[in-house]
Amino acid sequence: MTARLQLAGVSKAYPGVVANDDISLSVAGGEIHAILGENGAGKSTLMKIIYGVTTPDAGEIRYDGKLLEAHSPGQSRALGIEMVYQHFSLFETVSVAENVALCLEGRLDLPALRLRIRETAARYGLAVDPDRIVMDLSMGERQQLEILRCLMRDPRLLILDEPTSVLSPQAVEQLFTVLRRIAAEGCSIIYISHKLDEVRALCHAATVLRGGRVTGEVDPRQATSHELAVMMVGSDLPIPERPASTPSATPRLSLRGLSGRPLGLAGRRLQDISLDLFGGEVVGIAGISGNGQSELAACLSGEALCPAGQVLLGETPVGQMRPDARRRAGLAYVPEERLGRGAVPGQSLTANTVLTGYASGLVRHGMVRFAEARRRASAVIERFSVKADGPGALASSLSGGNLQKFILGRELALAPDVLVVAQPTWGVDVGAAAFIRQRLIDLSRDGAAVLVFSEELDELIEICDRIHVLSEGQLSEAVPREEATKDRLGALMTGGELGPVAEPAE
C-alpha cells in the first residue's frame, strides 16, 4: 500500500538558519502521526512545506504516490489536505454556520449548510451548534469548529498545529475522541506538539525533530516520556531546584474582595476574589483562559482600575493607580501576549527595554538614555541566552519563545518585589521553559512574591508553593503543593467544587 504522505530528503534553509535538513517521513492512511519537537526544531516549516505555503529547497513530497511540486495551499485543499493553525482563524462576530460558509466554495445556502453542519457534528461527536456566535464559544468549542470546518471538506490528511495549547484537560480528552474517530474513517492526521503525554496517549507513530533534523522515529505508545524528551532536547532535562523558603511576615500583594468588570464582550466578571501573596513564595493561578484570567491580571497590572482598597501592594492601596505608578511601587508584570502588548513589534529590543524600564533610570530630564537601554538589553540577551541579532533586533524578528525570554529577563532585571506572570512558558521550548521556571523560583527565594497564571498544570505543580484555581470568575481555596494533583486541580477547573461547569454545552 502506498503511504498517504511520503517525504524524502526535504530541506529548507532560510538566511542564517537551516530550518529543515534532509527530513524523511511516511504517514499511512488513517494514521495519527506526531511531529514532536521543541520550538525552533523546524516543525512549522515542515508543515508549511507539506501544506504548500513554502517551497522546499530540496527533496520530494509524494501524496498517494503522486509527486507534489510547487503546490499551493489551494491545490492542497483540492487534494484533501487541511490544516488547523495554532491560532484560530475564525470571524468572531458571526455565527458558526457563516464561518463554515466562508471557507466553502460554491453558492451559499445557509439552511442546507446548517443541516450539513449538524450531521457532520453528530457523526464525529462534535459539540457544534451552527447558530451560535463564535464570540460566545469557549476555546474548546472554537477548536471543534475549526476541525469541523475542515471535516466539511472531506479531508484525507488533517494537519493540527499544537491543537491543545488552549484547552482544558477535559476538552483535550474530548478532542482526542473526535480525532480517533476521524482517523478510524481513514483520514490521516499529522499532530504537531511538544506535549509528550498527549502524543503518547493519541498517536500511532512519532517523528522527533531537533534542530531541523529527524532525531528519532518511534512508536510513542511504546516509548516513555523520558525517552521522547531526550530525543527532543538532546540531553536530560534539568529538574528545577526548589530550596525551602520562609514566607515574609506580611503580604507583599493582597486582594480584598476584588470584583473587576468583564473585559470585552466575552469577558468574565470577577467574583469577590481575596488572596494574600507573601514574599518568598510562588503562587499559581490555574485555569483555562476566559475564566477571568485576563480580568484578574489586568486588575493586578493596573491596565484595569478597581476600587483602591481592593488591591494592596504591601499596605498601599493601588487599585486606582495606573501601571506606571504600580511599577514604581515595585510591581512587574509579564503579560501572556508578547507581541503587541509585552513588546512593541516594530521597535528594537533596546527601545523595548525602555517600555518598562523608564521608571528605573532610563529616562533623565525627559530624554531617553538609549545608550544605557542598549546596555541593559544586551545584558538581558546574554543572561537569558536570547537568540537575537543584538539589541538592535526588532522584537518582531524574534521567535515567540525567545521574545518571552527577553521580556521575562527584562522584568526580572528590574528586581521587582512582586512579579505577576501570565503563561510564562507558553510556546517556549522545553529547555527554555525549564530555565524560565528556575528563574521564577530563584526570584521568589530572593524574597520576591511571584504570582503565576498558567494553563499547564504540570508547570504549576513543579514550581508553585500553593495553587489556586480560577474558574467562572471565582477563585478556589489554595491547594498546597504537596496535595496538588492534575485530577484534583482539573476537577476544580471544571467546577467540581465550584458549582456550574466552566465549559458550556459540553
Partner: protein
C-alpha cells in the same frame, strides 16, 4: 492569467526610504504625460514648472516663503501622526492662528507695541492649539473621531474668517473689499532682505525641524507617543496614557499650524482677507508623509510641495495652464506615494497556473 497580492516576507528598510523618491519620480513622469495629452511639450513644460521658477534668486526666496508654513505644520502634524492621532484639520488651525494673531496685532493698545510680535506669536500658537483642542476634548470625552472633527472644524474656521473680514473686522477704509486693515508696522515681520518677501520664519521652520528630531528620536514623550501609535496595548501595559497621547498629538499639530498662521499673517500677507492659505494645511499632510514623519524628510518634502505651488503659478503665467495644476500635482504625488508604500509591504504575484 491572473494576479494576486501577497505580503512581502521582509519589508526592506531601504525600500521604505525609497518609496517617496519613487513617488516623486513617477509624479514627474505622469505630470509630463499629462502635459503631453493637454498639448503642451512635456519636457519644456516640466522645466518651466520645476526648474525655471527656482533658477532666480527671487524664485528661490518665493519657494522658501511657501515651504516655511508647509514645513512648520508638517513637523507639528508628524508628532500626532506618529501616535496614530489623525489631525487633518491643520488648515483650520492655521486659519484660527492667523485670526488670533491678527486680532492681537490690530487691537492691542499701542503701549504693547514693543512686545507686539511675540504677543502675536503666542496668540497664533494658542489659537491653533485651542482649535485642535476642541477635537482632543471631544475625542477623549465622547470618543468622537478626530479625523471628522478636525476636518469639519476647518470649514467652521473658514466661515468664521469670512464673517470677520466681511463684518466686524472689515477695514472701514478698504473700499468694501473683504479684508481687514493692514497690521501696524510693529506687527509685521521685516523681510530678511527688502528685495524679497522671505522673513525670519525660515529660521523658525528649521527650529521646528530640530525640535521634531529631538522629540521623536530622543525624548521620552516622543517615545511614549510612538509606542502608543505602533502598539496601543503595549502603551497601556507600560502605563502610558492614551488620552495624554491624543492631547499632545492634537495640540502640537494645532500649535504648529497656528504659528504658521501667525507667520502668514505677519509676514507675506500683513492683513486678513477671505482666503489666506492656498491649502497649506492640507498640503502639509502630504509633506509629513512624503517625509516619512522625519525631520530631514519633511525638509525635502516641504521644498518639493512648495515647488508645486511656485511651479503652478509659473506655468500659469508662461503657458496659460490653469492654476489648479498645483492641486493636480499634489494629488498625483499623494496617490503615487500611497501606491509606492503599498508595494513596500506587498507584492504582485502572477498566478497563471491552472489549478491542479
Amino acid at each position: 492569467m491572473s494576479y494576486r497580492i501577497e505580503p512581502r516576507r521582509n519589508a526592506s528598510a531601504l525600500a521604505n526610504l525609497l518609496a517617496p523618491v519613487i513617488a516623486v519620480a513617477l509624479t514627474l513622469l505622469f505630470g509630463g504625460a499629462l502635459f503631453a495629452v493637454l498639448g503642451y511639450p512635456p519636457i519644456e513644460t516640466l522645466t518651466a514648472f520645476f526648474i525655471r521658477p527656482v533658477s532666480s534668486m527671487y524664485g528661490f526666496t518665493e519657494l522658501l516663503v511657501k515651504a516655511v508654513p508647509l514645513i512648520i505644520i508638517a513637523a507639528g502634524l508628524s508628532v500626532g501622526f506618529r501616535a496614530n492621532v489623525w489631525n487633518i484639520g491643520a488648515e483650520g488651525q492655521l486659519t484660527m492662528g492667523a485670526i488670533a494673531a491678527t486680532g492681537v496685532g490690530l487691537f492691542a493698545p499701542e503701549a504693547l507695541y514693543p512686545m507686539l510680535l511675540p504677543l502675536m506669536f503666542v496668540a497664533g500658537l494658542v489659537g491653533g492649539a485651542a482649535w485642535a483642542g476642541i477635537a482632543a476634548l471631544l475625542r477623549t470625552k465622547l470618543n468622537t473621531n478626530e479625523i471628522l472633527v478636525t476636518l469639519m472644524l476647518t470649514y467652521i474656521a473658514g466661515l468664521f474668517l469670512s464673517f470677520l473680514v466681511r463684518g466686524p473686522w472689515r477695514d472701514p477704509n478698504g473700499y468694501n473689499f473683504p479684508q481687514t486693515a493692514l497690521l501696524p508696522y510693529e506687527g509685521m515681520l521685516e523681510p530678511l532682505d527688502p528685495m524679497y518677501r522671505v522673513t525670519a520664519s525660515v529660521v523658525f521652520a528649521l527650529i521646528a525641524l530640530v525640535a521634531l528630531w529631538v522629540v521623536t528620536a530622543r525624548s521620552f514623550a516622543g517615545y511614549r507617543l510612538s509606542v502608543g501609535g505602533a502598539a496601543p496595548r503595549a502603551a497601556r501595559y507600560a502605563g502610558f496614557s492614551e488620552k495624554g497621547a491624543i492631547w499632545v498629538g492634537l495640540l502640537t499639530g494645532g500649535a504648529a499650524a497656528g504659528i504658521a498662521g501667525f507667520y502668514e499673517a505677519a509676514g507675506p500677507l500683513g492683513q486678513l482677507s477671505a482666503v489666506i492659505s492656498p491649502g497649506y494645511g492640507f498640503a502639509a499632510i502630504i509633506v509629513a508623509f512624503v517625509g516619512r514623519l522625519s525631520a530631514p524628510g519633511i525638509l525635502l518634502g516641504g521644498l518639493f510641495l512648495a515647488l508645486t505651488y511656485v511651479g503652478g503659478e509659473s506655468v500659469q503665467m508662461s503657458h496659460g495652464i490653469p492654476s489648479p495644476i498645483t492641486r493636480v500635482f499634489q494629488g498625483l504625488l499623494l496617490f503615487l506615494l500611497l501606491a509606492s508604500e503599498f508595494f513596500v509591504s506587498y507584492r504582485l504575484v502572477r498566478t497563471g497556473r491552472a489549478a491542479a
